[in-house]
């Protein structure tokens, strides 16, 4: 049972010290319909151990608050320059922030009349966050919905996640988590009594490919899955379907066999789309547009068919 805890994962570096229990949240999406059953509120944690080339939420990588610049909204008034205490405002054509100087204080965003500069990420405590997500509890109760922790990677903040889930569950609200699979197993096991559902990403079965496209190998991801699959019934595998990366027959069959080996019978396939790439120029990030076209319906049907041949029911998200 120690294997989870002893695995060194990039997320470990970002572990918050026990007791402080604060996390950086970059979005709270109410009326989410696709992060679990019913009407849900999804909490997006900032910080992720992976750097997937196709990431839809590039603002989630860095675990600290950061400035984003929406060039198309800027009117060039430079109210931000006056507001900035660190002289971090520059006059680039689509750049306004010198990230080497910026400490993400948010003064420029406050001063900007056009909402062109925004502070992404707020440090929150679990109590106020729980109160906020509980505002929609009537809708959760009626629709069979609840709260989903997403990100980024919520397990970057395991102590916070535990506190938040406890608070929410104490009010009778159902919970779910979306994870990339890189977490300390001991941490995850503490969360399980307060979770109704775990969505778990399986991106590629080949360690080399996995490392090439996500920045980390898949050993911990796979071993965590196997352990979790035994310990927790409501584990649901997910797979982002990326044309040309992981939708080849070999990988699909390998994924299916891995699932079967772990005692799982289904997988949810999330078709790739490139809407997240519009966020890239606004951020300080190394991620570059992937140049992939969105997944085609025919490809997804093929993926589904191969899974079925292997005895796995693949559900394709619209």
């Amino acid at each position: 049972m120690k294997n989870g805890g002893s695995t060194r994962v990039p997320g470990d570096r970002g572990r918050n010290t026990p007791g402080t229990e604060r996390a950086v949240i970059f979005d709270i999406q109410r009326f989410s319909l696709h992060d679990g059953p019913g009407i849900r509120t999804t909490v997006f944690f900032k910080g992720c151990p992976l750097r997937c080339a196709w990431c839809q939420n590039p603002e989630s990588h860095n675990r600290n608050p950061e400035m984003a610049f929406y060039a198309e909204r800027c009117r060039g008034c430079f109210s931000c320059r006056k507001a900035c205490p660190r002289e971090a405002i520059v006059d680039g054509p689509d750049r306004r922030v010198d990230y080497s100087r910026c400490d993400s204080c948010g003064a420029c965003a406050e001063a900007c009349p056009a909402d062109a500069l925004r502070l992404v990420g707020n440090e929150r405590d679990p109590e106020s966050l729980a109160a906020e997500v509980l505002r929609d509890r009537d809708f959760f109760a009626d629709s069979g919905g609840g709260v989903t922790l997403s990100g980024g990677e919520p397990m970057v903040y395991p102590a916070f996640a535990l506190r938040l889930l406890r608070l929410v569950r104490a009010e009778g609200v159902r919970t779910a988590i979306e994870t990339c699979g890189l977490f300390g197993m001991a941490d995850m096991k503490k969360l399980l009594p307060y979770l109704d559902l775990v969505y778990y990403d399986l991106k590629h079965m080949d360690a080399k490919k996995h490392r090439e496209y996500t920045g980390a190998g898949n050993r911990a991801v796979l071993s965590n899955f196997t352990v979790l699959s035994k310990a927790f019934r409501h584990l649901q595998a997910r797979m982002p379907v990326l044309p040309g990366f992981n939708d080849d027959e070999k990988n699909i069959r390998a994924t299916a066999r891995f699932l079967a080996g772990a005692g799982r019978r289904s997988i949810h396939c999330l078709p790739y789309h490139n809407l997240g790439e519009s966020k890239l120029p606004r951020l300080h990030t190394d991620q570059r547009p992937l140049g992939l076209s969105p997944a085609e319906w025919a490809d997804l049907a093929r993926v589904k068919k191969i899974f079925r041949q292997e005895g796995i029911n693949a559900v394709i998200y619209e």
Binding site: Q29, R30, F31, S32, L33, H34, G38, I39, T41, R75, C77, S79, P113, A114, D115, R135, D136, D138, F139, D142, S143, G145, L275, E318
Partner: protein, 796 residues
Amino acid sequence: MQSSTSKRRETGASGRITRLRAAVQGAAPGICTERALLWTAYHRDRGNRGKHPHVRMAEALREVLLGKTICIYPDELIVGNFTSKRVGGSIYPELHGVPVMIDLFSFNTRKTNPLEISRRERTALMKIIPFWMFRFLGVRAYRSPFTLARFMVNQLRGHQYLINETGGISHLAPDYEKLIAIGTDGIVAEVRSLEKGAEPDSNRRHFYHGVGIIAEGLAQFGERYAELAERTAFAEQDPVRKKELLAIAAACRRVPRKGARTLQEAVQSLFFAQIAINLESLDNSVCPGRMDRYLYPYYRDDVRTGRLTRARAKDILSAFSIKMSEIIPVFSRHLTGFHGGMFNGQVVTVGGVDARGNDSTNELSYMFLEIMDELRMRQPNYHARVHAKSPRRYLDMIYRVLAGGSNSPALYNDDVIVPTLVKHGYSLADARDYTAVGCVEPVSQGKSFSSTDAALMNAALCLELALNRGRRFGSPMRTGPRTRPVSRMRSMEDVRAAFEAQLGSMTGRLIRDLKAIERVNTRHHPTPLTSMLLSECLEKGVCSTAGGARYNFSGVQNTAPIDIGDALAAIERVVFIDRRITLPELAAMLKANIPDERDREYLRGLPKYGNDMEEADRWSVYVIRAYTKALSDAGLSTRGGRYVPGLYSVTAHEFFGRVTGALPHGRRKGEPFASGVSAVNGMDRNGPTALINSTNRIDFTEIANGVNYNLKFDRHTLRGETGRAALAALIRTFFRRGGMQAQINVVDPSVLIEARNHPDRHPNLLVRVSGYSAYFNDLTPAMKDEIIRRNCYRIG
């Protein structure tokens, strides 16, 4: 998925219905002069001038019914034509007709709602203007020329309020159940026995006389169609159609004179009355109401005896439904600003509870929902009542058609509306038999003569006046009372006091003008036909315009409660909490129309209603309470009923917005207000659950005249089983927590933008405006922009 589409096509509209629909939708709307000319000819006749108004009205309407052109169009099963045009409207010279005729030379060419009228028709109408110039209802309101001039200027400018009763009252759901059951002969018999108890030459006696005349006139109107159907059948070559025409003739021989025996006769009977009532007074909101309830016994008997199949019944009701789109209102451009979208407010309500509180959904409820979804036409307006025990199948069907983008039906919550009506004086059984009329207003079928759209008030103007000592921004003239200057307002208490003073004053002015119009309606334009189909008018021998009906509420609408609420929230935050600027500075900024864009962005960024923030929502709640109080202080109408508040706007939120100065929530002069209790455009930033949480803070049981609440989604959000279930959960939760009404708009914004830029590409695109559906192309350019701007929820 595929099988369900093909199945739908199989059960969809028959060839006949498709052809009828195409004929009506393809017809260019026009103006029919017959009502105006026949009415004028009768009143010009000096022999008629001495008669009692009850008799005059009855005889004039009989002249119209017996003198107007009648026709039977190919494929029709239900016959009767509102006007001489396939799709047309009438002019009512004694009501609002004279002001409407301002547009006589531009009806053909105007951009919004063009109406066809030939040169000959125009000349004929020109000739009657001098006769009515000093006889129409508006000019009779006041004797003093000075007061009258003030009233007319106010009415024509329409900045403060619009008295809709100047065009007649209507807004009722007639007791068609009674007409269908006993026919006009039955009513005449009732009148004859009541008449005996009335003093000769008394008002009562004349009233009964008038009712007798028009009851007979209505019967003869039906018989004209019987003759025409017989003649047409004689010339008809196709044996199948010939048989149909003979059946139509037989039905028209029977009804409306006698009681109906079949579903076809029942529908035919009520449709003749529907035409006649629309020709009697204002052609607005004459509502068949709960048709599924009162037609069901006829349907059940027909099916049981094998006379009728479900498919045939559906054809009859579809044919009726299409007929309801053959009428349009004739408004001037000015009035179109308030009542856009060529909409007569004819409502059909389905579902709900019966008099004992049990669910009354039946097969016809489902049939009407199918018809509504298949036809998707402007009229009638379909509304669905729901309650905690509505059957699953019924709700599933409603949510399926809504998620599919039908934009109808609007949803009404029995569990809130029935107690609300009881609280305001309805008996429980009558409250349970409510139907919506017009836009969203609940009334008891056949028992209420509630002038539900008596007037529309621009309450937001009261805030402008409160911030400028009773003057409009930039105006030297005083409109309202001289309230405390902003420089001496020390707290929100002071702002509220000034606002309430202005609101009370404007309400007082409105009610005074409204009462003047109520009196001339009673004196000069009684409505014997309408009264004949309203409970207690006959028993009392009192016309509905004089308070004869059992319930006599008058609805006065606040068209911008949410904007006022957000504006007050902004004042509190900026001036009294953050102390960023002083109130005089803010007022000066508003007078200058918020010149600095940064100030505007700042004001728009403050907490707003619709985001589940108590700080902002409580101000909207306050405004609604203050408005309710101002109206309840106004006393009783001349018909003896209370003035009750409505929170909906038709399209007046756009018109009133255009004339109201800048407001502190970052709204510049001329921008439209929010519609009903929806959030200000684009200001609900946290999605539908947050918006609903905000709205649930309002106590709807105080709003006896109804609210309009738009929830807008794009198609993408509501797709599939997931989307449908989410929609159902949203509405269920909203209603369980006290929500009164909701209407779901499912529109893809890109389609709307395309429809605006290329009107020809989407000629029949239906959108929900304010309690009713309208063709997008029928809206003013500003309204189109507003529909597009309205927030659309998107998921990532």
